[in-house]
Symmetry: C2
Subunit: 552 residues, 2 copies
Amino acid sequence: MSDQVFAEVSQEALLKIFTIPEAPDSTLGKIEKHLSENLMGFLGERIVAREKPLHEIEQNFRDSSVPEQPRYVSDHTEFLLNNLVAHSVHTSSPRFIGHMTSALPYFLLPLAKLMVGLNQNLVKIETSKAFTPLERNVLGMLHHLVYQRDDAFYQRWMHSAQHSLGAMCSGGTIANITALWVARNMLLKPDGDFTGISNEGLAAGLAHYGYKRLTVMVSERGHYSLGKAADVLGIGRRNLIAIPTDSENRIRTDKLREACAQVAADGGKVLAIVGVAGATETGHIDPLSELADIAAEVGAHYHVDAAWGGATLMSGKYRKLLAGTERADSVTIDAHKQMYVPMGAGMVLFREPSMVRAIEHHAEYVIRHGSKDLGAHTMEGSRPGMAMLVYSALHVMGRRGYELLIDQSIERAHQFAELINAQDDFEVITDPQLCILTYRFIPAKVKQVIAQANAEQIRRIMPHLNALTRFIQKRQRETGTSFVSRTKLTPAHYFREPTVVFRVVLANPLTTPAMLAEILQEQREIAGQAMSLRGALYTELRELGLVREQSR
Amino acid sequence: MSDQVFAEVSQEALLKIFTIPEAPDSTLGKIEKHLSENLMGFLGERIVAREKPLHEIEQNFRDSSVPEQPRYVSDHTEFLLNNLVAHSVHTSSPRFIGHMTSALPYFLLPLAKLMVGLNQNLVKIETSKAFTPLERNVLGMLHHLVYQRDDAFYQRWMHSAQHSLGAMCSGGTIANITALWVARNMLLKPDGDFTGISNEGLAAGLAHYGYKRLTVMVSERGHYSLGKAADVLGIGRRNLIAIPTDSENRIRTDKLREACAQVAADGGKVLAIVGVAGATETGHIDPLSELADIAAEVGAHYHVDAAWGGATLMSGKYRKLLAGTERADSVTIDAHKQMYVPMGAGMVLFREPSMVRAIEHHAEYVIRHGSKDLGAHTMEGSRPGMAMLVYSALHVMGRRGYELLIDQSIERAHQFAELINAQDDFEVITDPQLCILTYRFIPAKVKQVIAQANAEQIRRIMPHLNALTRFIQKRQRETGTSFVSRTKLTPAHYFREPTVVFRVVLANPLTTPAMLAEILQEQREIAGQAMSLRGALYTELRELGLVREQSR
């Protein structure tokens, strides 16, 4: 053993790895210091990823057997640093603006280590104790952020054993599934001889209530987790009805009303209407109050998916964008998105503390009747104490700290949209409402003529522009100095023709206007290399008679 | 700001908390050191929890508003240390032997901090890169541990985009739900005009295939997550059929065959048979090979819930206890149980790499067709890189390190059973098969006479013994020096009368025989204080004519 840790199969060596190491000068203390320095070095690099193809990285992860012999921690750590960390994605880089995973405030890292070290299990008080009231407190604070009930409400319900103001979960997907699970079980509740869907199953529930099918209504911009929810819950993906959006990517309430009427006319029942508060692809927010009206009219559960947009409730200036959220029966918010908490911190909130009764469950050895065990009302069982990190972020940054972050993000997105529009060879596809926008490169000549193109011409031009956008996005990602993501939209001004776009999420407070300008310049340069794609585009344009001369 | 961190609402202060702190002598460096020392102090304490009632702890977590102003990290840290950490549960204490949450090897803590700091999101390669092959590698290693396929199999499938050998998830509950989700969707698959349950929903699937209902068969010792799965998936809790167990808490296969025949006779279909490999309450393992035969006979999906027992596959000596697991279609294993990884590391493994197709899903901006994004085959969406900790534990401890841990745990459980049986005033209720056993305190005089009691006498005595067991367990937990859990069983030798028992899980390698003896002694002393409960017990015994003299 001497100055190494473990790598020996003996009782003594085993006990040693479970025993508290002695202070910083121990081997483990040195390894920890080395790891910390390496992590800080990694996080400090101003690149997004190193250029190494995936199939090469896979070579390091090909041995399918559990290794027979133990290995020194120091050797293993070196392996990880060289082969895993070095080829991770710098999600905290200010030039990583492609997804909702952003930089973390550094004070959360030592707290995360504390959380992991305590290894509490929130399913039951016996393995969490103070973490249980803390988690209930976090749910209370977020509930208050959304619903603004009075103090008496929270004093009565926040710590009540038979109630929950929501459920912490690993992420927005489980949150959305949980919300629709509750909605489904409340709709097909016990009634006379029928003991409820939870007990008898979905088919019996539909038969008892005389519904041919249940549907969930959401705009075509709804998150893909809702499709999963419809599948898992037995509702069926085709009964998740995608309602068209207006020119600003918001659900068309006239179309929603028509669709709801059609479902009823066919003998179905609208289980839930889902409002989108911060669409994953474009950041847009549905007319949430009007959706609440419609849900009330048709007697449907009203869920708001604010996984991304929920944090905006902390901004005095932009909170109004989410007006109507407080009328939702349930709301999803991800703390690991714009609340800047590490991955694994989703939440669903319920307007009424008794709604979770619809999914309550017990066992003999835990979550017994009358206990305050949080596990009685969650889809997951054993869960870590992530609530502690949410609690800490809320306290250290405060509402006003978050407000500053949110306001700046949104304003940065507007500035970037202006910058894009000022270019001859870029165009904004969806304007930002929150801090998300989409745009694309479009050669200056094409930009000049595309506004005059008719539907048929657009249909023929678009595949070429889409190929170009895909090419630029992939090449930029591979180069590794910056990262934007891409998606496919159907913009009204392009006759709903599928349009591939760059998607940016401007949540990192360290992203500067200069960096954004550089990202555009890099994209322009990559476009310059796409000779054959551009050639094909111009050939098409000439054939369509939209340009005349030989252009590249 | 000076020597404090944040607590100011300004752009400058905000940027600072997202910027890498300068080395160890920074304020955050000092706070980190302080936190680490406190954590080590906490983990070094030889108690399980401090005696403080929950309602007092709740007083610190009553303010339901998001705090308006930011707060110094140092102040917040002090608050957490005094009010959260100090009143957490010492799950790593060698005297905490009540649940499956155990000590962690210390080398995982710096690695956990690294994992959190990197903040990768495993749903897609664009936010995980090398973490994706690593996670596929971990699933491959666990798949190999269970199924032992040859190297060519893993070279072909482990990193294949359209396939998965399993899914990492937050815990065993999501793993079990995922397994039954796959089973359900495979059974009610597309067929002719029917586009499959995933698309059309459960009721349409049942109608198409002509099944009155689907059932899941599991022993009465099955984990409560299976009830949740039956609920969530629309199957209904009453269609989760609890099969009686034999005197050793293993499923009675004769009763299972009868129940399967009955389901078919009534027009239902057995969706899945679930084998228990390490019952949560007693640690017992079903006859897994025979269950595989029955599943094949009735054409049901065969799932093995080895959330607890799966790690035993690493022991050359005890691996045979799980013989038959390799015939399962799917297997649940929790790395945060007996694989000693922090909370949040569940897994489901699939025998055939193509089975996940039944739950495959895509979106335009991530997990596109053909990508290697892991999110296409998981119930959860965004997920942290927990696989890194599983990978690290497997490499640093090696199969042989785990073997030593597993073997010692099982042998310690047998020793403890012997110790209990040697006492005049304790009795083992379920013998250990893995490292879990149940027992209870029973006054010496009662122990002498209870073997002669008939069913009616047991029925009358048992509530008194149950009250005594509950009293001891609660008081011992509150005292805080040690912790055993409790559950309710129906032992054959007590005429299936509900029997409250202490449940111990001997997974912590630091738990010594001396500690176990002390735990018994403490329980004996607490029992001595339960004057009125013992009085009522003896009154009952005298009325039943089982004892004569005045005893206490």
